[in-house]
């Protein structure tokens, strides 16, 4: 067994999938279960998103994977961290929960729904009913910047322009709400 074969044995698609998805789920749980420190929660979120970016790349979505790293991990979570540190708030959840019973029931429902949803999705595999069964064969360019660009600037041109206005509106809104002093 050559080194290359060992590498292929370990780093194959299946293992990568298991790795990335485990990391994504565990770090997502980290966001929810980390009660003490918001900064750690934000860092867990980054890890989860990076793992998701890995999954994206595995699914031939290179460009979106890169965006995921750049915008989500690089910008959004940084913004979260900024705010957490700016506000310098600790122990947001020190006081006793006002609705423990409700949350217990809610958590139970969510867990039950998770089980149900995953089993439904698993069942969809055996009974796809008109749904595409297997991966469609795609060219090597699928998901590349060029292909995305071609679709984005033709079919989705209007959408692209609207997203620009959305960003502008977001900037205006954020500025007016967060400015220290207006005048």
């Amino acid at each position: 067994m050559t080194f290359g074969e060992i590498v292929h044995l370990v780093i194959n698609e299946q293992n990568l999938f298991i790795f990335f998805s485990t990391v994504a789920i565990l770090s997502a749980l980290g966001v929810v279960l980390n009660l003490s420190n918001t900064v750690y929660a934000a860092l867990s979120l980054v890890v989860s998103m990076l793992a998701l970016a890995g999954l994206f790349v595995m699914l031939n979505a290179e460009f979106v994977g890169v965006l995921q790293v750049m915008i989500y991990a690089g910008a959004i979570v940084v913004l979260f961290l900024f705010v957490v540190m700016l506000l310098n708030l600790r122990g947001g959840e020190m006081a006793a929960d006002r609705q423990p019973f409700l949350k217990l029931v809610g958590a139970g429902i969510v867990i039950a729904a998770t089980v149900k949803l995953t089993s439904l999705l698993g069942a969809a595999r055996s009974n796809p009913s008109g749904i595409q069964k297997d991966w469609m064969p795609v060219g090597p360019e699928f998901g590349s910047v060029r292909d995305i660009g071609l679709v984005l600037y033709t079919d989705y041109l209007l959408l692209f322009q609207v997203s620009g206005i959305l960003l502008l509106a977001g900037i205006v809104a954020a500025v007016i709400l967060a400015k220290q002093k207006v005048d």
Binding site: L120, R146, V182
Partner: protein, 519 residues
Amino acid sequence: METSVLEFTAPELHFGTISPLLTVALGAVLLPIIEAYLSRRKSFLSRPVTRVWIGFMLSFISTIFLAIALMLTLGKLSVPQAEVAFNAAHPMIAMDGTAHFLIATILLSAIMTILVSGRYLADVGANYGEYYALVLASVLGMMLLAASTNMIMLFVSLELMSIPIYALAGFRRLSVRSNESAMKYFIIGSFASGLMLYGMALLYGATGSVGLAEIGTKFDPESVLHLLGAGLLLIGLTFKIAAVPFHQWAPDVYEGAPTTVSGFMATAVKVAAFGALFRVLSLALQPGIESLYGALWVIAALSMTVGNVMAMIQRNVKRMLAYSSIAHAGYLLIGLIVPGSGGYSAIMFYLLVYTFMTIGAFTVISVLAKDHEDKDQIDDLAGLSVLRPFLAFVMAVCMFSLAGIPPFAGFMAKFQLFKAAIQASTELGDSSLLWLAIIGVLNSAVSLYYYLRIPVVMYMRDPEREADPDSMAGFERLVLFVCAAAVFVLGIFPHDVFVIFWDVDVIAVVSEAARSMLP
């Protein structure tokens, strides 16, 4: 690489089709620039630049943009067939009669909101020019939402509508209630969009396309995946119209938000979301519509009942109006369950009427605000007929109309809606619609209790405070007058509304518009 250049064919651009959208977009882009320009100057045309003056200028400019868009839309209303916007093979939006009518209603609501906002914002100490840019951006989102025929467009325009409104709800930055209102709306709203997005993902996975029409051709009501996706998508949209059980944000948000914004939220958002519901139900989910009716039936009945019952015990007018808007969402949902264009046209007429009466009521409350405080308790209205007779009159008219008392427009609107339901139920031999109409009528009777309390308090109780100096701005008078007049005119002559130069048969317009959307 050369091949790729050749592959690219520039899309055909039909700017004429979306000229109202372009006008509003232009306004949304230009207004922040104008605002920045004006506030940098010490004087403008030899006038000293003050905050109030800037606010007035910006509201004036944004009204002009909106009015131009409204004119363009009304001009298109007479050509009800769908026009191609950009790419026929991949339609993002359908500018048909329905879209134009709803867009016109949204623009009316926005114009009235902007006209009454200036003095109110100055009064509550939130007179920032960004307000107008945000309203325009949100209006653009609403217009797109009402016309979108593609899930991606639906999602993005929904967010373009919502995000500025989150900010507008928290626009009184120094008011704790406004902050809380924005925060709740934001958290719960984003949660709902998350649900909706996941539903869209499932629908996309099940059908392989994002266009609503193509989804409709492949939709399989037997498949769990399709139904889950459809259900989640509907949850996201019914959240926006505040239907039970996705309604609880509404009272809190309406109460805390600046009053003018509450009026805007209660009307324009609802109009746009109903536009999206029309398209989702009639295009994408048409094959599975039978299985959705039952669920929508329950939501409609619950919304009417919960909204009306909860409104009965409110002491705050804005909160009461919020619950009443939940109840009205329930009435409106009846029209969605009626198959064919009859229900849709009844909804569209109802939305128009609802816009006038709700904006009228919220405007009265906003006019009453004084010294950085909303006077929005029901007790604050005591003796208003003596203190401010005009306000009391408009408020009473709006309340009567909301309660559905003839001859006001609210009655005519409810009548159209229930008539459509009853007709459909006799045609189909399906008594469930009849029962829904009966629940609706019973609920209208219940609603009399709290709507009529307002005129009673205004006209029969003695004022508890001194008469205020009448500080109403001319725009506010104008809007109140227009609302009251519209409520009368649409109630008495819905077939002959006299609009400056020509008579409009509004009922015929809406039924024409509703037909244009259906394939």
